[in-house]
Amino acid sequence: MHTRVSSEHQEVIIGPDQPVVIIGERINPTGRKKLAEALERGDMAFVQEDALKQVKAGAQILDVNVGVSGADESALMIEALQAVREVVQAPLCIDSANPKVLATGLGAYPGKALVNSVNGEEAKLKEVLPLVAEHKAAVVALTMDDRGIPTDVPTRLAIAEKIVNEAARLGIPAEDVIVDPLAMSVASDDQAGAGALAALTQIRDKLGVNQTIGASNVSYGLPERREVNGVFLAMAVMCGLTCPITDPSLWPIRRTLLLADLFLGKDEFAMNYITAYREQNPDAD
């Protein structure tokens, strides 16, 4: 199954037979004080810098989240989308917990955007999916609902299935639903990694949809977080992860994903890996 998202310049194809597509996560003020302050001032230079940095590091889609306290998030979203489009050609992922912001962002975006996110909560399904249908966008679907975040595999699969069905009812094809089976921290639950990997596998086998995962959760509370995230990502790719939301400007993460492609036969002559390696180590040869 192929998910296609596009800017006015580029189309990106996500699918199990394609190299992993990295959705750059950096444009998000959560836990990033300087970015939050810049956004509060309406200063978009930071956002543009993050956009360039991530695309240079191999991100093919950029997530844009501008949720800061006390700011007009809709207005900021329009500004940020514009600012990012000025400096990069990559398609964008419009990210907000507020459906109004998603609507405004979608209205201002001249391509097929990815929307982050919908989940199994009744209110979310009602508010977000019609927007996705109206704008012929694609959407990230989190496997949680009004009962909370499930830790077991069957409930995750059931929620994913429910969202895919509800989307289909509104004319959104399954290929435009990218499921995120929500990986939690293995520091607080040592079965969380195994559960997420089993969920990825089952959702891939039963629904065939593309899947993303926010990998940085899994390492919370552990040492060597980047390396922990990297190993998890490599294993997740084996289980059906096709488009992780992560920070490609961290070399251990990017290297892991490039090598996952190589070992799965998706990097001809290993040139993607070698090219990226050389960019990282300009003096190596």
């Binding site: 003020p29 917990a97 909370g148 520091a187 607080s188």
Partner: protein, 215 residues
Amino acid sequence: MADLEGIKTAIIKGKRKEITGLVQAALDENVDPHTLINDYMIEAMKEVGANFEAKKIFVPEMMIAARTMQTGLELIKPLIAQDAEASKKAGTVVIGTVFGDLHDIGKNLVVLMLESSGFEVHNIGENVPPEQFVEKARELKADVVGMSSLLTTGDPHVKATIEAMKSSDLADRVKVICGGAAVTKKYAVDVCGADGYARDAVDGVKVVQQVLGLG
């Protein structure tokens, strides 16, 4: 002789299998349960908290220490329950994650740490509407209400929850504190009028003690 230092060490090292035997041995020798809790077990958790703050240990180590503590406490609880005066807790805390937010790891860590420090804690879950914080605080006779917020979009709910508490009949007797990655001290305390802000689980225990004047 009961190995009281051994109890402390077992908690610090998270030896869940050893704690039961050690605590039982101490109780068999009539060691005062309160001495056991206050001078050894809570002391051990203080050290665990300090190690965590100093980044000497990681989250799983803190969790297993807290679980070890609780395993030990289970043995002691029946004894102190008979002793009404002594069963008086350090205070009662009602804690939850604000409306619209389903994050629970940090909050649950705070719960473990508070319980390990002698507080009676009621975890009212995630996605909790402001009114429910007030209702539960009233019903459970809370001394402190704690809220967690991990989403940047949670700010209005943090504010609404604090306002609901502060405009209720509980305003004078229940302290309100906030924590979580999305909240800053400036926002929680200065803008919304919370009584305290905690940056992590260890700090959470300190802040609860502070607002209750337990120093």
